[in-house]
């Protein structure tokens, strides 16, 4: 039977059935359209994102921290990648031999390792910052739940010699002390990121867009000269051992530019291995510890008196009988000197002489000079904990206080402030701001404190102090003309002067055209000698001699043997 002849075809169906089917189909289309509109319009962003996450990746672009180099480009601090080993304790089910092997590789106690892995946390560091080759060996063990991540570690090749200047960074490569902290903003890099498409095998196929290029940390060129720094550190260390002193500091400044060429402190620490650090080791004494400068202060009131025309360098002053009573207090000279010229007062370091000179100055004049020299205010080099020392307002000064201040008691300074103040004599009476970083062009002139003539006159007096008849013959350097001043001060303890001393020497050379200012401070020498001329002056001579030679400064004096017989002690100065 043919299909066309089928009796079923002749049967009439009700019209609603066709319409019902058509409506159903229409409804189905409608549902499809609504669904696609929902996916394409309403939910579009979410789905796009989901899809992209299957192939697009954001990659972190790490930036390295800038290097710190000395003025000749020698590396003082550099960051290099290391690995940190971390674990998911739940996954890290190690067998005892595995644990032993891992502990041996990362140089760790097995019990300590097991204790960490037993912690109720999702994430623990097993060991941070291990060398890349050790990390590869750990990776080769293929232990479950043990992972690695890349970090940067800071290395200081020069070690303890420069630790106080550089400071250090924390485990997260952020500066915590010294230059590392002071220049954090410039040293720190800013990590960037990029979005890429990766293929099935994890190869990068294409850059989608470069989102953020990383900003590498800037290199910092310090004013520091590694050679001079090494000399300062070595000689200071020798002197501390020889005199059984508690602490000490040396500062070397470039007299032409105000750059800090060396800053050494003891006790110190190794910045590469900072387990068990004490506060005493961390102190950057040259900037954070104040002391009474003693006789090293004397040239300043003398210079002011010359400047104001109250005296001339050859004016005579009666210092006999070595005592001077002001109000109800009496000041002494260790040895009575009799009639001295102003120049000899500085040379022989007479307390009475300086007090008489200072008595011709008003408290306000003296305060203005101390203030202009930078005493009483921090240097603001950016170091943490910098202090300004004590300089009381002149309105509260009593005459005896003004007298003691003229020879460095009742006023306190840091070693760096003292060294900087001596720039006025090493230069033509002007004071430069200090710089930790190398300067491209040196500043032309700083704030004028004294006239050039006064500065030259005081320079001649300071040269006399180093020559026979002065207090600092041990500061002499064969071949160079040296100028400087000793200081010895009792230490203040609980408001009382104790039988402990601070020995100081500040000076500069070559005196004909000063290039370097060196300040030395030795705290509590306790091997018998404690005068600045015996303890601090030899360190000054060693550091200055070595530095002048290292910098190739031409000698300005004919060579002759030291102008003092070896067993004749220099004249003792006054306390």
């Amino acid at each position: 039977m043919k299909f066309a002849n089928s009796p079923l075809l002749s049967q009439r169906l009700p019209a609603w059935r066709a319409r019902f089917i058509a409506a159903l189909i229409l409804l189905a289309f409608g549902a499809l359209a609504a669904r696609s509109a929902y996916l394409q319009v309403v939910n579009n962003d979410f789905l796009q994102q989901k899809g992209e996450s299957r192939y697009a990746r954001v990659i972190e672009l790490s930036a390295t921290r800038g290097r710190i180099v000395d003025r000749d480009g020698d590396i003082l601090a550099v960051s290099t990648p290391v690995k940190s080993i971390w674990a998911i304790p739940e996954d890290a089910r190690l067998t005892p031999p595995q644990a032993r092997e891992l502990a041996a590789l990362v140089e760790m106690d097995v019990h300590e390792l097991n204790r960490r892995l037993a912690a109720e946390k999702d994430f623990v560091f097993v060991k941070r910052q291990i060398p890349p080759d050790t990390a590869e060996k750990v990776a080769a063990l293929n232990l479950p739940g043990i992972h690695q991540q890349r970090e940067y570690r800071r290395y200081y090749p020069v070690g303890e010699v420069v630790s106080h200047v550089l400071g250090f960074t924390g485990v997260d490569d952020k500066g915590q002390e010294g230059v590392e902290l002071a220049f954090e903003a410039r040293l720190a890099g800013k990590p960037g990121s990029r979005r890429v498409i990766k293929d099935r095998l994890g190869h990068i196929v294409e850059d989608v867009e470069s989102i953020k290029p990383p900003r590498e940390g800037e290199d910092i060129t310090l004013a520091l000269d590694a050679k001079v720094q090494y000399l300062a550190f070595t000689y200071l260390k020798q002197a501390l051992a020889e005199h059984k002193a508690k602490a000490g500091g040396v500062v070397v400044l470039d007299a032409r530019t105000g750059e800090v060429l060396a800053l050494a402190n003891l006790p110190t620490y190794n910045p590469n291995n900072r387990g068990r650090l004490s506060g005493a080791q961390l102190r950057n004494r040259a900037l954070t510890d104040v002391f009474e400068p003693g006789s090293t202060m004397k040239p300043f009131p003398v210079a002011l008196a010359l400047e104001k025309g109250r005296f001339r360098a050859d004016s005579q002053i009666q210092t006999a009988p070595g005592r001077l009573t002001i109000g109800d207090a009496t000041i002494h000279d260790a040895h009575p000197h009799g009639l001295l010229t102003v120049a000899q007062v500085v040379q022989k370091s007479s307390n009475v002489g300086v007090a008489k000179i200072a008595a011709t100055l008003s408290p306000e004049e003296m305060w203005r000079m101390f203030d202009a020299l930078g005493f009483g205010q921090p240097l603001r080099l950016g170091f943490p904990g910098e202090v300004g020392g004590r300089l009381r307002p002149f309105k509260t000064w009593r005459p005896i206080e003004q007298a003691t201040m003229s020879y460095g008691h009742g006023i306190s300074v840091t070693l760096m402030q003292l060294a900087r103040a001596y720039l006025v004599f090493a230069r033509d009476g002007d004071l430069l701001p200090l710089s930790l970083t190398r300067l491209g062009t040196p500043p032309l002139a700083g704030n004028t404190v004294f006239s050039a003539q006064t500065a030259h006159e005081v320079r001649a007096m300071l040269e006399m102090a180093v020559q026979p008849g002065g207090t600092a013959t041990r500061a002499q350097i064969p071949g160079y003309r040296v100028a400087g001043k000793t200081g010895t001060a009792h230490k203040l303890e609980g408001g009382q002067y104790a039988d402990r001393y601070v020995a100081v020497f500040v000076g500069f050379a070559p005196a004909s055209d000063p290039r370097l200012v060196v300040a030395v401070m030795i705290d509590e020498p306790s091997a018998g000698k404690y005068y600045g001329g015996d303890v601090a002056a030899p360190v000054f001579a060693q550091v200055m001699d070595g530095s002048l030679r290292a910098l190739g400064v031409a000698p300005d004096a004919p060579f002759k043997p030291l102008q003092v017989a070896r067993d004749v002690a220099p004249e003792p100065e006054n306390l």
Binding site: T64, R67, D74, I75, V78, S79, T80, P81, Y155, P157, V158, G159, V161, H203, I204, V205, E206, D207, A226, K227, Y230, T234, P478, G479, G546, R549, A554, P555, F559
Partner: protein
């Protein structure tokens, strides 16, 4: 008409294949670039480590020790030094 269509189809095919080929080429070059950049980063790191090593070997303390102990050198006495002015 037919001939024009054939020509157009041929052009489209050629351009499509060209697109695929150049995309492939681009990816290959990109991988090379990526590899070289990675190498540059590695070299940069190695340079840092070498600098570190160099400054460790060249530390003043080590040089002084070797000069004094192994080479038996000492600073010249002041009378032995002759300063020469450099011509300006």
């Amino acid at each position: 008409m037919l001939r024009l269509n054939l020509i157009l189809i041929a052009i489209i095919l050629a351009s499509a294949l060209g697109g695929v080929a150049s995309q492939h080429q681009a990816r290959k070059l990109f991988t090379t670039l990526e590899r070289e950049q990675e190498r540059a980063r590695q070299l940069e790191i190695e340079w840092g480590q070498l600098q570190l090593e160099q400054s460790t070997w060249a530390s003043h303390a080590r040089i002084e020790k070797i000069a004094r102990e192994r080479l038996r050198m000492k600073p010249p006495a002041a009378g032995q030094v002759l300063a020469v002015e450099a011509p300006q």
